[in-house]
Symmetry: C2
Subunit: 484 residues, 2 copies
């Protein structure tokens, strides 16, 4: 792996952000890089937010991006439509009052959704890079869907960010599958294998502007694990250790994925103590969070594959200072590969994701508070939950200081169905739902996962439902009023 010595190579159309904004159609559909609040463009979004012109853009990212887009541009009213995942206050408020139209998609499918049409008709890609040439770029702290983005547009604008170290080159393995129906199988033969290189190539005529920046990402802040987080982690760990011992899928190694967020980060950390014998622990997921750096530092993790370094500022500093060491064990891929259904299947990745609430039959709401108000989006949770040989949903049994139960009779929004969910883990315990009927699932979840404060109400609800009969009984009249 050769680390480039220059940020800019060849004859490049270097301009300032404001002149890019002057050229932008006010209703353009813009594909932006960025995933896990890192690796997104910064200067042009701020210039759009500051511009006099009135924009009504459609902005499509791979995953969540930083405040320059989802706060500043949204507050300036420059975004009419925003797809498909967000995690900032301003955009969330606008999505929920419908001043910004939002559509939620699986991360793995998004590259094709955009490139092959129907979802949006993209005009321009604005992507962050650590280095750029006349027909190539090297992405920064995330890859996301940049390989698909540059293939989907006639106009590519690159922000070269000097705040992102050139050593990030060593992590990147870019690959874009071909076009159906002649799409070849992804030739990756191991979770930590490499099939591409650091550069993303494009048609040199499409590169219309290069903007130089030097602005750090505005990344995640993880809260410290709560007692409940640690109890969930402990329950998960015991379950996984037992499962790994019993299943032939994990004779030599254990492949795991964890969802994005503070709970996911805490769960990763808990794996450090897990006794998996002499099996290699391998991470094959969407994002590298701080907990994974800890595991790498402690030699507890054999390898990690993801599409983004969704680290805290501290974690990012640690990564940047030790990039070449971490790059021995860590690969970043495009998001349609990090989340690829077929790779999750072929590598037999255990999926561990969190949720807002779970119903007694195993349906999971990951996105909509009270069934109506969007939180962030489904992200990649469906890619892993559906295709994993073992799908675990972890969540606290209650929310709002114990005032409401996250175990409910009927989920008011369903992101993951009973068909995809194998195991539920709360701080109370573990419900293994494999091979169970809906009534058996309800019993297991009630007894092993629900908080005792809510068991009587859940029991009553089940009794009312049961009186109506059927395979998966509901009392639709009271399904959403059970706590009253």
């Amino acid at each position: 792996m050769t680390i480039p010595s220059e940020r800019l190579s060849g004859d490049l159309p270097v301009v300032d952000a404001e002149s890019v904004v002057d050229q932008l159609e006010p209703d353009a559909t813009v594909l932006v890089s960025g995933f896990g609040r890192v690796g997104y463009p910064k200067a042009i979004p701020l210039a759009i937010a500051d511009a006099d012109e009135e924009f009504g853009l459609t902005v499509v990212s791979g995953g969540s991006v930083g405040d320059e887009i989802d706060e500043a541009m949204v507050e300036a009213g420059a975004i009419d439509r925003r797809y498909p995942y967000q995690s900032a206050g301003a955009v969330r408020r606008s999505v929920n009052d419908e001043t910004v139209a939002f559509a939620d998609r699986h991360i793995a499918a998004l590259a094709d959704d955009v490139q092959y049409g129907g979802f949006v008709d993209p005009d321009v890609a604005i992507v962050e890079a650590i280095a750029v040439g006349e027909d190539w770029l090297i992405p920064s702290t995330s890859i996301g869907h940049t390989p698909a983005w540059v293939e989907s547009v006639d106009q590519i604008i690159v922000e070269v960010n000097r705040a992102q170290p050139l050593e990030l080159t060593a992590f990147h393995d870019n690959y874009r599958p071909g076009t159906p129906p002649n799409r070849e199988p992804v030739p990756l033969s191991a979770p930590d294998g490499r099939i591409g290189g650091p550069r993303i190539e494009f048609d040199s005529e499409a590169l219309t502007a290069v903007v130089e920046t030097e602005t750090p990402d505005s990344p995640y802040e993880f809260r410290d694990p709560t007692d409940v987080d640690l109890e969930i982690a402990s329950n998960l760990q015991s379950f996984l250790v037992e499962e790994v011992r019993e299943s032939s899928l994990y004779d030599d190694s254990v492949r795991v994925q964890f969802g994005v967020g503070s709970l996911g980060n805490a769960l990763m950390g808990a794996l450090a103590d897990a006794d998996f014998g002499d099996r290699d622990l391998v991470y094959f997921g969407e994002v590298i969070q701080d907990g994974l750096l800890d595991l790498l530092d402690e030699n507890q993790l054999h390898a990690a594959s993801a599409t983004s370094f969704a680290l805290s500022s501290d974690g990012q500093e640690r990564l940047f200072e030790n990039a070449s060491r971490y790059a021995e064990d860590v690969v970043l891929r495009p998001a349609d590969l990090s989340n690829s259904p077929t790779l999750v299947d072929r590598f037999g990745v255990i999926a561990v994701n969190s949720a807002l609430e779970v119903d007694l039959y195993g349906h999971v709401n990951s996105t909509h508070v009270d069934g109506s108000r969007m939180l962030n989006g489904i992200g990649g949770s469906g890619d892993f939950t559906r295709n994993s040989p073992l799908s675990v949903i972890t969540l606290p049994s209650t929310a709002v200081d114990g005032d409401i139960s996250r175990i409910v009779p009927m989920a008011p929004h369903v992101d993951h169905t009973e068909h995809d969910v194998d195991v539920i883990v709360t701080e109370r315990g573990v419900a293994d739902l494999r091979g169970t009927s809906p009534r058996e699932r309800a019993r297991a979840i009630l007894e092993s996962c629900a908080h005792p404060d809510f068991e009587p109400a859940l029991e009553s609800s089940l009794e009312r439902a049961d009186a109506n009969g059927g395979h998966e009984p509901h009392d639709l009249e009271t399904a959403f009023s059970w706590q009253e």
Copy 2:
């Protein structure tokens, strides 16, 4: 392709069905062949139903099987647990009154669910074949999950059915993916390619009994298309012709899948008139239904891939009389390949499935009447709907002679989420949901798909929901009482 001349080859443990039953543990977990009500074992199930011994078996099939299992065995009380798809009256009643425990899974995932544990702990496989040797068999009218079944057990029992012609050999292409994490990509490079052969091989020590039978399948009966079916077909056809012209995915060929059933069968027939220019029409789905034979007879179909001949008795007769001709264009595969997420993706298969009801935000109920009573199971609809570049759900706008709307404010059971559904087609029209927000989806479905009789009630329901605010607004108090 050499068609075998003998049904039985080598030194085989040929016995009668009753003596197999005598050896069977009363609480065994039995994997049976069969898919689309064909290719399932017949003599041993009838012998179990007639036996004096009390059985409480767990019976796992690839898809739906015939009356010998799902009527006779169920009525004899011999089945305690039945996974994961059924389509017969007796078993459906028992599933809904919980005398038979039932768990619903995606077809594509079931082979691994069973082989790698957690879902069931299988004891014996009872599979139908047209021919058998000491360490191989050739399946009959369906393949289903037989390749995984014989790898999952120590005891294999084969029913050799002389009513199924040996010429079926020519259709079969068997392949079982390796074990994760070293599972290689499926090497299939075209929808009609072949990567295996007619034989399914197994450890000769596992073959404990061979039973000879001569009983036809008890297959589907398709009703004639209704006027509403034909209007749905016409709307679908217009939409697909336009889509195929505009998308680069279909420059040379159109790959489609249709769901099992009378509507799916009618929709297949309607493709005969579609003007796809000089593009090849290719079927890549779960079952071959009568409508596909019509297309083959009319030279309208380039090739077809499936796991089962789910034909009517007439269709079966037509197939058997012309097997060698049809086998030039038709391949049967194991169900985890016919429904493979990665093959649906790589071949860019358009998915067309039906549903019980659809809500205004695009969530689909395929399985549970009134949210509680199981109809058949999700089958393979999720495999295709999730992984297709274009997922279409077709259904009549009303049910029960127009008394109830199949377009509802909130689905009381969700099998396919808004994240997976692109287009809804009813006899009223087409709602293209790609790139739309939930409120936009509601407007499109209401205006293009709902029946006018129910538009006012749906409008009122939307207004009540809208008053609650949020990205995907619901009025949970009245969500299920909107028609009152």
